[in-house]
Symmetry: C2
């Protein structure tokens, strides 16, 4: 078949098809997989310290003891054994649920897509942080919402802005479908919502009957400071998502979604329509893995690893980056967020960076409205400390070149105009 084809089906697509776009992160994957490039782009967890033979042992036991069940269809809600381990994991974050209160999903991403499907009609208002998680933006976009952005600062969601937007919308007679938030170690911003703001968000949600969707993939990866209660702990009406992607493996594609029962019922129907069930095979192997192994040791080891990498990135930024740049100092997670002078467009700068063999994600990818041109997300999860040091050194040269170029052009312009 010819590689490039005229699209003779354009009159058949649904409107939403034109809103589904390739994510910047996915497009970059092909480049950042080149070995000579230091990637500060993708949020790939570090898995090299993982003992692969533990998966082999779990698979052996699963196939020899429960092989037939592992090869069959399973329930749409998720495999019972795996759900017990998920309950225990949620309990470590003070979220007490029983097996009926949540389902297993194909990573958090499937949970987000299903939430979009269950709640969003074209034109519906959805509240999101700005910047926000790219995967949530792309999952919701397919259902054609009107996204109203709430800014972040170093203490997370700016609650006073949330309150203003809610009042404006109420005055217009508009009821937003939900607020989507990543309170812990935000992707991409690296900030964490303060305790006081968590309580304020809950108060506002109760006052305005605002449904909250809390996405918490990084909660267990705290490097310093005290754990804060999740929104779901503070109010059981919150819809809560998390995943094994960051603490075990994204390649197994298993996450979970907890919601009040009436909502969860709709979500289960949508899950059935989406893929009948998550792979029984993988769920049974992970169930067996947790019977044989304690995840806590591995999480503790990951926290050490990521803390060292965050430190290496912060130190390298202090060492190399020019005074004109600012960045967040995350207490956990995978990412930090860099603000460059407003005359820099990081989307354009990316090509220079890749020619210098370093990659990042341009800030504009994380906004629904084209803002963020002078921001970038840096991930410290995958490269080691030396690679981070060298990557930040290379990237600083790219940034400094942009600043020098600007001042030289601006100087010339100034000379001309004088």
């Amino acid at each position: 078949m010819p590689r490039y084809q005229l699209d003779k089906w354009t009159d058949l697509y649904a409107n939403r098809a034109s809103l589904l776009r390739s994510s910047a992160i996915r497009d970059l994957l092909s480049v950042t997989e080149r070995e000579d490039i230091i990637s500060l782009a993708g949020g790939n967890p570090y898995t090299k310290d993982f003992k692969m033979n533990k998966i082999v042992e779990a698979t052996t036991e699963t196939m020899l003891s429960h092989g037939n069940a592992a090869l069959q269809y399973g329930s749409s809600e998720g495999q019972v054994g795996l759900k017990k381990h998920i309950r225990a994991l949620m309990a470590t974050e003070n979220i007490m649920v029983d097996g009926e209160d949540f389902i297993v999903t194909g990573g958090s991403q499937q949970g987000l897509d299903i939430l979009g499907k269950v709640f969003i009609e074209p034109g519906d208002v959805v509240l999101m942080e700005a910047p926000s998680y790219l995967g949530a933006l792309s999952a919701f976009a397919g259902y054609e919402p009107r996204i109203v952005s709430i800014p972040l600062d170093e203490h997370g969601l700016v609650v006073s802005e949330l309150e203003e937007r809610l009042e404006e919308l109420a005055a217009e007679g508009i009821k937003p479908k939900f607020l989507y938030t990543v309170p812990n170690f935000h992707n991409p911003a690296g900030v964490t919502m303060s305790l006081e703001r968590r309580h304020r968000v809950i108060e506002l949600s109760q006052a305005h009957q605002l449904l909250l969707i809390e996405d918490n993939p990084y909660g267990r990866l705290r490097f310093e400071g005290d754990d804060l209660p999740s929104l779901r702990e503070l109010d059981e009406n919150v819809v809560y998502l998390s995943t094994f992607s960051k603490i075990l493996s994204p390649g197994i594609r298993l996450g979970w979604l907890a919601a009040p029962h009436p909502i969860l019922e709709k979500i289960i129907f949508a899950k059935q329509a989406a893929d009948l069930c998550s792979p029984t095979f993988t769920q049974r192997i992970v169930d067996e893995f947790f019977k044989q192994n304690d995840l806590e040791d591995y999480i503790a080891q990951l926290v050490q690893t990521y803390r060292r990498r965050r430190d290496a990135m912060l130190e390298s930024l202090d060492e190399f980056f020019p005074d004109e740049a600012e960045w967040t100092r995350p207490e956990g997670g995978f990412f930090l967020w860099v603000k460059l002078p407003e005359f820099i467009d990081t989307t354009e700068m990316l090509a220079d960076a890749i020619s210098q063999k370093v990659a990042f994600i341009p800030g504009r990818a994380f906004f629904a409205d084209g803002r963020g041109a002078n921001f970038m997300r840096l991930a410290f999860c995958f490269p080691n400390e030396e690679e981070i040091h060298e990557g930040i050194r290379r990237l600083s040269d790219v940034v400094k070149d942009q600043i020098t170029l600007y001042h030289s052009v601006a100087g010339n312009l100034k000379l001309k105009s004088e």
Copy 2:
């Protein structure tokens, strides 16, 4: 949390959420898992002859040689190694594609959901067979189509009816989004589209610019007769879906979808939004499995098994079922379709059947418009020959009771009215 909760979120749901319903098959699973019930209901493939240690060997090699890659995110299009095996498998059905022409999906079901998302706006006309695959009905329902049904007979889709509907719709200025068809060993009807009709469907699709979606999960499971060309073989504009669910395992949840490039591009964006990628872990293990094992031997063995079971079901039906019943004689696949007298409602009869410890799927589940009350689907894939014989014997008693009851009531009514 209380088990039963008032739904205070009713004003938040999208319209489509009310159209997503639990499928009859899924609801039945809980009952049919009871060991004392002979289930002729679910389409669970027979996997007990599968050598479980082959999966263990493939997992061992995968984790020890490619463990890191298997635990990471992968491409949305699918893992390159697995795609080579899928190409080879499609080639056994004379479908020649390269790796760019298809993607890996979470079973066929995810492909169907994504097709709904890419093509269907509320009110759009979609053409489907009547009866049709339950999973397709539920996947498309969430996108709120108007389903126009085309009947089936023993030679598959009744093409003259398709032609009439297409002309009527064209006269109304309505362009249907696509025709969804299962040409081989239809689920639930068990019939196969004749060669002549395949050519006619292609001609009609070309004359009316009608997009064809061909779902072929059972194509390799032919017990007798000659293979017929797939619609995709006859015209490369056809969108084609298949799956490992019936020939290897549904628990691995891996299928594939081939489409012309412009359509496939939209599908890839929707796949990214749906779950980023299918599990790299499972894809790599199945890739390794096919490097170590030839699937053809296993398929040949499955064909023997299912042929014996179909024969057992046909013989048992001949032996036990009353003259008032008719059924299809499938040349392959998992299912046959039984027509009972019009006064029988199989949805109501199901409770009696379960009390007699046998289960089936009532016909109404396979129609978009509430028809099919006197039909039922019988699956011969999972129980063995003795179980099938005993199951059909039990079911025949239930059917005969219904007929006796009707005639006795009708006789009394007749007496009364005389």
